[in-house]
């Protein structure tokens, strides 16, 4: 099937920003997941719940909060604006919305894979004189890497599907901030069902591929 230039553009844009978003949140997600998996402190569950909130909150309300924070009317948005960084109505807004909405999925999946790493290995490495950082990179990460990739794939899929927060923060600007989800919405609004179905097909195929890979990795991680 040959797609129009516009379709390619929208698809590549969604993939590129989704990938960037996943790469940006990956180090933070891994660090936070490790802290959640290995450390205990009072009211830890409160923090954990806060991090997971965007997963269950209506995306539009998350978008509204982001719009409030990064709008020019707010100190944060104003500060960034004076330095030439605009988030609202900009592809950086798409990135921000995707990152915030997919972060909880990443943390949740990676934390599970860290929990499944037997702490005995880490303790043994410590008794042999390995530094905590070395243990993390030489023992923990290699033992959990399948779960980490699976989590990243899941976060990436979630980023591709993001709609509610994106349309509020980044707008729906064809050629600039329009992702697959936003384009589908536009086509449905205009009654151009066949165009919507084309993009829908691409979205389903991509989502299926990434979620399937993610599940496959998790299964093979369990067997190992």
């Amino acid at each position: 099937m040959i797609f129009s230039l516009e379709t390619w553009h929208i698809t590549l844009f969604s993939l590129a920003v989704g990938l960037t978003s996943t790469l940006v949140i990956l180090p933070f997600g891994i660090a936070l997941a490790w802290i959640f998996a290995r450390k205990e402190w009072p009211f830890k569950s409160v923090i954990e719940t806060l991090v997971l909130l965007p997963l269950v909150m209506p995306p539009v309300s998350t978008g509204l909060i982001l719009l409030k924070i990064f709008g020019r009317r707010n100190p944060v948005g104003q500060w960034l604006y004076e330095r030439g960084v605009e988030i609202v109505f900009n592809w950086k807004g798409v990135l921000m919305a995707m990152a915030v909405m997919s972060f909880p999925l990443l943390v949740r999946s990676v934390r599970t894979s860290f929990t499944e790493v037997n702490p005995r290995f880490e303790q043994i490495a410590a008794t042999l004189g390995a530094s905590p950082l070395r243990i993390f990179f030489v023992i923990t990460i290699p033992l959990a890497y399948k779960g980490i990739i699976a989590g990243a794939l899941l976060a990436f899929s979630r980023a591709l599907g993001e709609f509610g927060a994106t349309i509020l923060l980044a707008g729906n600007i064809p050629g600039k901030t329009q992702t697959l989800s936003l384009a589908i919405y536009s086509f449905v609004q205009l009654g151009k069902d066949s165009d919507a179905y084309t993009l829908l097909g691409i979205t389903v195929a991509l989502a299926f591929l990434f979620v399937w890979c993610s599940e496959w990795l998790l299964r093979s991680a369990k067997k190992a």
């Binding site: 790469l23 707010n74 509020l168 707008g171 600007i173 064809p174 536009s186 449905v188 609004q189």
Partner: protein, 253 residues
């Protein structure tokens, strides 16, 4: 870390060719979703004739108004709703003296394309073969508000109300009529023209229906007011007006 972050962003920008292209001046127009097709057409002509460029963000008027309220960098706002524009005016978000009423639309009653329904006056909505009537949420969505106001003015609202199925928006109204789940629905004339599976069974006369107005104004915080004004003038030129008429809008002179 910071350098990786910047590199990643550059790669993403490069990959997709979204690096801001330097044309003379580029404005962003926030416009009601119902104007998507016609403004895309006018925008394409404008780009070919002017050294400036224009981009659009399309969405529900209420969302766009909200974004402008928060300082989103739009230069020009086409609203499908006077109230949203009034609110922005009151809070001083619009450039004084630039606001004007641009377009009008007409309410129509639609039915599935194979329907045998015949409506010669709105009273016919009370007939027994019309069991359900779809219209957009009559308290908040403009087209729903207009429809219920029209039926109230005709003295029919109380009797019609039990048949009313409130739906999300114009698209949902079209979809429920297309599927045959309702016998009739209220939409704008321009929306009815987008679907081949519905037909117009009654056009509300312009003098009898509520005044439906699409206002336009320049956003106060715009840094490119001259270009915004230039594009606004273009939509009012014969080329712009011709396009609006082609899509079924009524141009207010």
């Amino acid at each position: 870390m910071r350098r990786n972050f910047i590199a990643a962003i550059l790669v993403a920008a490069f990959l997709t060719g979204f690096v801001e292209v330097a044309r003379a001046d580029e404005i962003l127009v926030a416009a009601a979703a119902s104007l998507t097709d016609v403004l895309n057409e006018i925008g394409a002509v404008y780009r070919s004739k002017s050294k400036n460029s224009v981009n659009f963000t399309f969405g529900p008027s209420s969302t766009l108004a909200r974004q402008i309220e928060e300082g989103a960098p739009a230069d020009l706002f086409f609203s499908a709703d006077l109230l949203k524009m009034d609110n922005l005016d009151k809070t001083g978000r619009l450039e004084p003296g630039t606001r004007r009423n641009l377009l009008s639309n007409q309410l129509v009653i639609i039915a599935p394309v194979d329907s045998k329904l015949f409506i010669s006056s709105p009273k016919d909505l009370l007939k027994a073969d019309i069991k359900r009537i779809a219209l957009a949420e009559p308290t908040s969505v403009p087209v729903g508000v207009y429809s219920s106001k029209y039926l109230t003015d005709e003295g029919l609202w109380d009797e019609v109300k039990p048949k009313v199925v409130p739906v999300q928006d114009v698209r949902a109204t079209l979809a429920s009529v297309e599927s045959g789940n309702v016998e009739a629905g209220f939409v704008y004339k321009t929306d009815a023209a987008t679907s081949k599976k519905v037909k117009v069974v009654y056009e509300v006369p312009i003098d009898k229906g509520p005044k439906i107005t699409y206002p336009v104004a320049i956003v106060k915080e715009s840094k490119k007011k001259a270009v915004a004004q230039d594009f606004m003038n273009f939509t009012l030129s014969p080329v712009g007006k011709g396009a609006f008429k082609k899509y079924g809008f009524v141009v207010i002179d």
